[in-house]
């Protein structure tokens, strides 16, 4: 006999993600979960962001990597609170589970920050699947990865609130086409905004900062 028993497999982690949100939101903290392939430019984007807007962002970072503290060290240079979450020295989890985030909150000065950036493990697939208590997922895709990636990894582009296309200064060298990339993003998610920038030249960075300002409900200026 077949007996019905409906259970959400992710119920426990979904509940913990709500607990993370219930901890951060009442303190006025907005949380962005940055997801992109290894080398997409997530850390460089944060470096540029902190250099330009650390005063009003009052940011902290949870830095997710399988191994090393290299990215955390880069970001700590800004005087920003950083917690490193390593998922395993020789090939651990391919994404940050919400339990990493929950544990990291204890090490962050929550009363002093306004924005929390979670830099997820470099990976276009798995992190898209998991709610870690963020307000928004941010898809970070470098133009150098190719303009076809939204079609190959559609879930992230469905789950994200915004796509940040990085390294647009490399367009002439990598044979990727921004117009085609925009079309491919639209094929997966026609409603998602796309921000195009270069952390190397600073081009487009204002658009990203404007987006953050709006997400934090701060007036311009």
């Amino acid at each position: 006999m077949e007996i019905k028993v409906v259970k959400q497999v992710m119920a426990e982690s979904a509940a913990l993600a709500e607990k993370v949100r219930a901890t951060l939101r009442p303190r006025g903290i907005t949380t962005f979960n940055l997801i992109g392939a290894p080398g997409a430019g997530k850390t460089s984007l944060l470096e540029r962001t902190f250099a330009a807007a650390q005063d009003w962002l009052r940011p902290a970072v949870i830095e997710g990597d399988i191994a090393t503290t290299a990215d955390a060290e880069r970001l700590a240079l800004f005087g920003v609170p950083v917690v490193q979450a390593n998922t395993g020295p020789f090939g651990g989890d391919c994404h940050l589970g919400v339990h990493f985030i929950w544990a990291a909150l204890a090490d962050l000065p929550l009363d002093a920050i306004r924005t929390l950036f979670i830099e997820n493990v470099g990976n276009l697939v798995c992190p898209a699947e998991f709610d870690v208590g963020e307000d928004q997922k941010v898809a970070v895709l470098s133009l150098a990865e190719g303009d076809d990636k939204p079609l190959k990894y559609p879930l992230l582009f469905r789950e994200a609130a915004v796509v940040v296309v990085t390294k647009i200064d490399l367009a002439p060298y990598v044979g990727a086409d921004l117009a085609r990339l925009r079309n491919n993003v639209a094929a997966v998610n026609g409603a998602i905004p796309i921000i195009e920038l270069s952390a190397a030249t600073g081009e487009g960075l204002e658009l990203w900062l404007g987006y953050l300002r709006e997400a934090l409900n701060l007036s311009a200026g």
Partner: protein, 128 residues
């Protein structure tokens, strides 16, 4: 590779349910619904399930995965659409603002359990 941690969760939840309901040793199939827009590969879930079940009350059970198609609702004309491929555009009006309503499922739905073979069976007889 993230199927491993998800399958651990599936086995833990299913085993807890089986223990709670006293179905130990009698579960033939564990039924799971899996949306086509998840990043989980059904064959990988089954592969890990067969490894992880060994030391549990599910050691004789098989995981059956039912794939759930992607469906969406157009934000403009309200059409309800099944998608087998990209793009997620409304085929009726061309609008790109399609809300995905189905395809992200990851849920245990039922268990196929053998009838109890021992004990008093008189209550099961004579019901035509």
């Amino acid at each position: 590779m993230h199927e491993l941690s998800v399958t651990e969760e599936i086995v833990a939840q299913a085993a807890a349910e089986v223990e709670r309901r006293g179905w130990k040793g009698r579960v033939r199939f564990v039924h799971l619904r899996l949306g086509a827009l998840t990043t989980f590969v059904p064959q990988s879930l089954v592969f890990y399930f067969d490894i992880l079940k060994k030391d549990t009350c599910l050691k004789d059970a098989t995981l059956l995965v039912e794939e759930v198609a992607v469906r969406g609702k157009c934000g403009a004309c309200g059409a309800v659409v099944a998608f087998e491929e990209l793009p997620f555009l409304c085929p009726a009006c061309g609008c790109p603002e399609v809300e995905i309503t189905q395809g992200r499922e990851l849920e245990l739905t039922s268990f196929t359990v053998d009838e109890e073979t021992h004990g008093d069976k008189s209550s099961q007889t004579g019901d035509g």
